[in-house]
């Protein structure tokens, strides 16, 4: 089983890296970009086939390590 965890900054948390990327895109001539938020992606390979058990485990991983829930949200996608 494969899983992808996406960690993004919560709304309202300042993202200076996203702002710098937005500025760089503008300087490269990409117009119309109204905002950039930078995040992280984790691809995991898991044992077993029980999707719900995997989701529970991944939620634990996000809460305990992969995300800093003070400033970050996470999203879990599981595929076979």
């Amino acid at each position: 089983m494969k899983a992808r965890v996406t960690v993004t900054l919560k709304a309202g948390v300042l993202d200076p890296q996203g702002q710098a990327i937005e500025g760089s895109l503008a300087s490269l001539g990409f117009g119309g970009v109204k905002g950039v938020r930078q995040g992280k992606v984790f691809d995991l390979i898991l044992d077993g086939t029980d999707v719900e058990a995997a989701r529970t485990q991944l939620t634990g991983m996000c809460e305990k390590l992969l995300a800093n829930t003070v400033i970050e949200n996470y999203q879990i996608e599981i595929s076979n």
């Binding site: 300042l14 200076p16 890296q17 710098a20 305990k64 390590l65 992969l66 800093n68 003070v70 400033i71």
Partner: protein
């Protein structure tokens, strides 16, 4: 007064911290490697600065989840004083011993320079050697010192006198909310701060403004 310095792989300010504790306390601290079985019986545990585990994932995140930090958490719960400087502060936050988060500096730059700090509160074991409102000099050297906390946490920190140090007007090097440079836990036996008081303790450093913090902790005259 006995002290221990905890060392994780990738820290690089441990020698400075050991030197400061030895010079001011008159006794060398115990040096505890992160894989050691336990922390000796001490009154003060210090986590120095550096780049534990290469700052992988988030600064301090990996060290914070090590078994050694469970031991630090147990000691802190029993009232042992814990000091975290720079990466040590980031580790204490990631370990949940202090609230909030330390984010990338708003300038996106690594900042290495001297700033001015206001000693915001002095009713604790760490800053009692200073006068409330005193402005001191202190070096900073970090990339991720931009303190952030939600409104509720911030109100608790400010309302309960748990902001120990603030960057003085015009010297905030990282965009920290409320100019926060160092905070205490609710029991006020855990302090984390981004600046490096251990690097301003003798005239050879160009100043001794950091000395009073260690002198108070080690029961010595500044």
């Amino acid at each position: 007064m006995k002290a221990a310095v905890i060392v994780f792989p990738g820290l690089n300010r441990d020698r400075d911290m050991i030197a400061a504790l030895t010079k001011i306390g008159g006794v060398a601290p115990a040096v505890v490697w992160h894989q050691d079985a336990d922390i000796p019986d001490v009154d003060l545990i210090v986590i120095p600065g550096g780049f534990s585990y290469g700052d992988y994932l988030r600064c301090g995140a990996i060290a914070a989840r090590s078994p050694m930090m469970d031991k630090v958490r147990e000691r802190a719960a029993k009232g042992t004083k814990v000091l975290g400087v720079c990466n040590g502060f980031q580790i204490l936050i990631e370990a949940g011993l202090l609230p909030g988060a330390l984010m990338r500096n708003t300038s996106l730059k690594f900042v290495c320079r001297e700033v001015k700090l206001e000693v915001t509160n002095t009713d604790n074991a760490f800053t009692s050697g200073y006068a409330k409102g005193q402005i001191i000099r202190c070096p900073v050297a970090h990339h991720d010192g931009n303190y952030f906390a939600d409104a509720e946490t911030l109100a608790a920190l400010e309302g309960d006198g748990r902001v120990a140090f603030r960057y003085a007007a015009g010297t905030n090097p990282n965009g920290s909310i409320n100019n926060i440079a160092g905070i205490l836990n609710a029991e006020k036996n855990v302090l984390g701060l981004m600046p490096h008081p251990e690097n301003l303790i003798e005239t050879a450093h160009g100043g001794i403004d950091g000395r009073a913090l260690f002198a108070a902790l080690l029961d010595k005259a500044a």
